[in-house]
Subunit: 399 residues, 2 copies
């Protein structure tokens, strides 16, 4: 063989190896794939997340270095390619689900609790405890767009809770100490128009927005009722609902505050956790009056409707947190129960509702169940899993 | 320069060119990107579609060779990577939105009208006129899984209309000549369990399923009423609703049958086109009784609720088909009107409702409007555009 031929063969081999590498890489991170069946699971103890595939029901990657992820939550870019992970330590991380890499990360405050993405997908808002307020960032670059200190009339800062996106390019949030609900309207550009609703009640601790983006409801820790703002008629002001619904009538120890974003809207009813009580409240969505109380296994934390609005799934606070119960929306009876294991922290339905994924923190597992037969279909190893978030949330108001 | 060096340089050049090609290709078809902001627009006259990006508001590619696309519709794989285009000529085309290529295509009947994808995303069903029935395919390979001839008790075949997916791995469809509604349950595997509901009414011409997948409603061309099946209680059978709602009380010429899948559910109401009349019917969703009739510009075709359920948009049959009207859900008044141009055939909201895309067939344009200010934000050249379908449909029951 002549030297030229040898060189040719050698170069061919190198080229083939390079292509081979690319092919392998294509099967892993960086492969061409749809992003509609992806999700992120928070590993709260280790500052990491796993990227999962809901079609193959497997974990694709583990990403570390996201800081303190206790109470972390996740939002998605409108193309469902990027996850935004909001950490407890003020960290805001932009994660590329395709290359499976952190593409941007900032520490935007000392202490934060959740975020939201605007209706058009261009703005990210973060709710901060310290310093109390909301910061708004460009979703692509994470550059600061607006800083909204939560300062009341006495000049004092409040912690911000219950931050959500709302139609017409608005963010809505609640000031814990001041007892106010604010609406920040970005429809005219980067300078928000702020509307303040004062004296909504004592110690609003969390809030939710209905799936149509119309009703914003804040739970009150300091009073026996809730505060409702109709975002289609904000001039009508904040209205008190559910007065005397039971928050304060018996001084039960509250082991863990329920998550209001977990309220379930199904048919004519909203299903909500009764704070401190072993019951789920059923509320008429027309007038927000109480329709029924369903006795359940423990203090409910998340109360979630299935996508077909046929069932409501409930998990519970310690010491009853090994259990899930399933309520039939038509009969308001408990029709199913599962014992996934120790510390069931969160659950997420696949977008069309065939499966439900469940975080079992102290088993270091995520379980996947058939949402109808309750058969367990799979199990993933995840370290101290908490929140599970699928990319279909990119397309939903308030999620 | 020695021959070896020259060869080395030449090979380096070839390699760089090859890489350059790859880089260019990466910026076009085959680039890594999220699929949550993609969509397909049908070009009905030319057997082609355009793939569009709702973030940049531009067309990415034009794909030809899809056969007869009059009345074509599109469904999406659960990863939102593949579009399934159901043609009028029995063609079923699997289109990869990332490589922008047809990855599979079959002619599965002589004449068909729409399709559906199962809750788990594994099965595709197609409604056929000729031969009348439903064929079910593997969504990945397009291999035939089940063939369901629509044969009535007399042994005669019916055309199949109103095919939709429903929770619990079911497909529901209607037999035009036989006047029957069938439910095909694939929850036990590839052999469906078929339930037949007979004598539902004369000439059921189309149907819809509510967004929660619970109520299936067929419109009757031969009678003044509609047929309702509660899919949570199918044993209760089919119920007649909207008797005497006006379909038959005045023999108005019907220029174009309305599309029932366009019915809008918003708040407590369903909004539906009154066949042949210049009005939109408002129906109570609890008991399916008529609440109001809203006079509109022409014979309504599509009646669509905005994602925030605040507005209902309506387009019209010839000769009033240059107009869109907007109904406020709270006041039931017309609050806006647009004249996009000749032959407004279809419209689609972006998933969170900030924009609406509108097909203006005889202008060969698709217009993009701000859904609140009604300002026109963009315009695309599309040849005889009809249906517009965004990938967020992948995550919705019945879409």
């Amino acid at each position: 063989m002549r030297p030229l031929e040898r060189l040719g063969r050698w170069l061919t081999l190198v080229l083939l190896m390079a292509l081979g590498q690319a092919a392998v890489a294509g099967g892993e991170a960086g492969q061409l794939r749809g992003t509609g069946d992806l999700g992120v699971i928070v590993e709260r103890a280790t500052g990491s997340v796993q990227i999962v595939d809901t079609t193959t029901r497997e974990s694709l990657a583990r990403i570390t270095g996201l800081g303190d992820l206790s109470h972390a939550s996740v939002k998605y870019s409108r193309d469902a390619r990027y996850a935004y992970v909001f950490g407890r330590d003020g960290g805001l991380t932009q994660l590329d689900l395709l290359t499976r890499r952190i593409t941007n990360r900032i520490i935007q405050s000392g202490n934060s609790i959740g975020g939201a993405i605007s209706q058009d997908g261009r703005l990210l808002a973060v709710a901060n405890y310290d310093p109390g307020g909301v910061k708004v960032f460009d979703a692509r670059t994470l550059e600061l767009v607006a800083d909204i200190p939560a300062v009341d009339d006495k000049g004092e800062r409040s912690k911000v809770v219950g931050l959500v996106d709302a139609p017409r390019q608005r963010f809505v949030f609640t000031l814990f100490e001041a007892g106010e609900i604010w609406v920040a309207d970005f429809s005219e550009g980067k300078e928000p128009r702020i509307t303040r609703h004062r004296e909504v009640g004592r110690q609003p601790y969390d809030a939710l927005i209905t799936p149509d983006g119309r009703h914003y409801i804040a739970g009150l820790f300091g009073e026996d009722g809730m505060a409702l703002l109709d975002l289609r008629n904000p001039d009508a002001g904040v209205q008190r609902i559910m007065d005397g619904y039971g928050r304060g009538d018996e001084p039960l120890p509250v082991f863990k505050m329920p998550h209001l974003e977990g309220w379930a809207m199904a048919g004519d009813y909203a299903f909500m956790p009764a704070v401190g009580h072993h019951s789920v409240l059923v509320v008429n969505r027309r007038d927000w009056s109480e329709v029924a109380r369903i006795p359940v296994h423990g203090q409910p934390i998340f109360v979630m409707a299935s996508p077909d609005q046929h069932a409501v799934w409930v998990n519970f606070a310690y010491p009853d947190n090994d259990t899930l119960q399933i309520i039939d929306v038509d009969t308001l009876e408990i029709t199913g129960e599962l014992k996934p294991g120790p510390a069931v922290l969160h659950m997420e339905f696949t977008p069309r509702g065939e499966h439900i994924w469940v975080s079992v923190r102290d088993a270091d597992e995520v379980h996947i169940y058939d949402a109808y037969s309750l058969e367990r279909l799979g199990r993933l190893n995840v370290e101290s899993p908490s929140g599970i978030f699928f990319t279909a949330r990119a397309h939903r108001i308030g999620l």
